[in-house]
Amino acid sequence: MDFVTLGGNLLGTIPLGDIVLYITPLSLFLFIVLLVFTLLIAISKTETQVEATLMKLSNTNVKVGKKEFKQRRFLSVICGIASAGAMITGDLFNFTLFMALIGILNIGIVSAVKQTTVLNSAYQYGLIAMMCSLPLFGGASIILASTGTLSLAVLSQMPATPMVVFGAVLMLLGILGESGVAPFFASKAEMFRTPGSPFIVIIHLSSLFIIVRAVEILLLVLW
């Protein structure tokens, strides 16, 4: 399928050697929304959860310490920028690299929380993210071997051979695992159950946007 059918007219390209980023109305919109959200996160403060205290009438506030707050804000801003970059990238391997970067930042954002259940599920997610590097990069390399190119502009003009379909299925599995969609949701959904709302939300938002973009890329490659 062509860019024009999926994302609207081509507004321009950003050539960086063999990696050519391209801008269509769809990708530009996603890019700007993510950057605005990242800006909102960078200037916001974390929420404080109020929990009932056992055997007493008072409440306890679950707060985020200042050091941890700074670390989380830094990581979530980088995560926002990385997912914004994945929105306008025009190269298959570039996209998988952005995906891997987002995966490791997602673990980093919750790596310093005090709740053991959250840490446990982050550990399980880390296992999945580690396994995902095989289908992500393997899928991209199989597509490269069978077509001889990684540029989406060239790939969208090529017919899909069985090997390309296999590479795309591998990539899809990697993206599903890394962004925590349907059968693999549990480990990622448990990671949100901790104070520090706006920073935790970027974990969720980046995977949502990545899924939209991944659908577009797979359509470009397969049709």
């Binding site: 050697g17 063999d18 050519v20 050091k67 980088i78 673990i107 599920s121 296999f166 549990a186 480990s187």
Partner: protein, 193 residues
């Protein structure tokens, strides 16, 4: 089994990596049956196997010709209009590599033979953005690990109590060892006499 029970099992984070590994294994096994057809028109062209070795070139399977900064070597780019100076440093080798290749015909097959400037052109010229991303993934991993290491193992507030406890423990262990040692020595002495 009812679908509700399956969903309940999937909601346990512990089962998710196993399920993922299982799915991945099945797809990889299915991949064995996919017909493999490589594209002969690959981006980074190379001569047929053994051709350069039969010719007796000193940097054999990696010789791509070209004179540094004068004549481009054999290299192809996806979008040649974006990298006009491509191939100019393909033939570059470090002084050490040049010396080794001048005295040995097997330089190209040894562990310290890099394809010279070719890697640099791929990494920093045609696909430079990928290299930036790769190293930033590594940097983020180091930032997370070092922050955790500093704040949760070194910079702990109750470290003095722990140190005192550790010192006590090791002193206890040392005392026990000493007592056992003396006992054994006394026993040995008795047996000798």
């Amino acid at each position: 089994m009812k679908i509700g029970k399956i969903w309940n099992k999937l909601a346990d984070p512990k089962t998710v990596p196993r399920l993922f590994a299982f799915c991945l294994g099945i797809i990889l096994i299915l991949g064995l049956f996919v017909p493999m057809a490589l594209n002969p028109d690959q981006l980074y062209t190379r001569p047929a196997p053994q051709v350069q070795i039969d010719d007796g070139l000193p940097i054999a399977p990696y010789d791509r010709g070209g004179v540094v900064l004068k004549e481009p070597g054999i290299i192809k780019a996806q979008f040649p209009e974006n990298s006009k100076e491509l191939g100019m440093i393909t033939g570059y080798m470090s002084p050490l590599a040049e010396w080794v290749s001048s005295i040995s015909p097997y330089f190209g097959t040894s562990i310290y033979s890099s394809p010279g400037g070719l890697i640099d052109e791929v990494l920093y010229y045609t696909r430079g953005f990928d290299t930036i991303l790769e190293s930033s993934i590594l940097m983020m991993a180091f930032i997370i690990a070092s922050w955790l290491a500093i704040n949760y193992t070194m910079d702990r507030r109750d470290i003095e109590k722990d140190l005192k406890k550790a010192a006590n423990d090791s002193a206890n262990v040392a005392r026990e060892i000493k007592i056992n040692d003396e006992k054994a020595r006394a026993k040995q002495l008795r047996r000798d006499n």
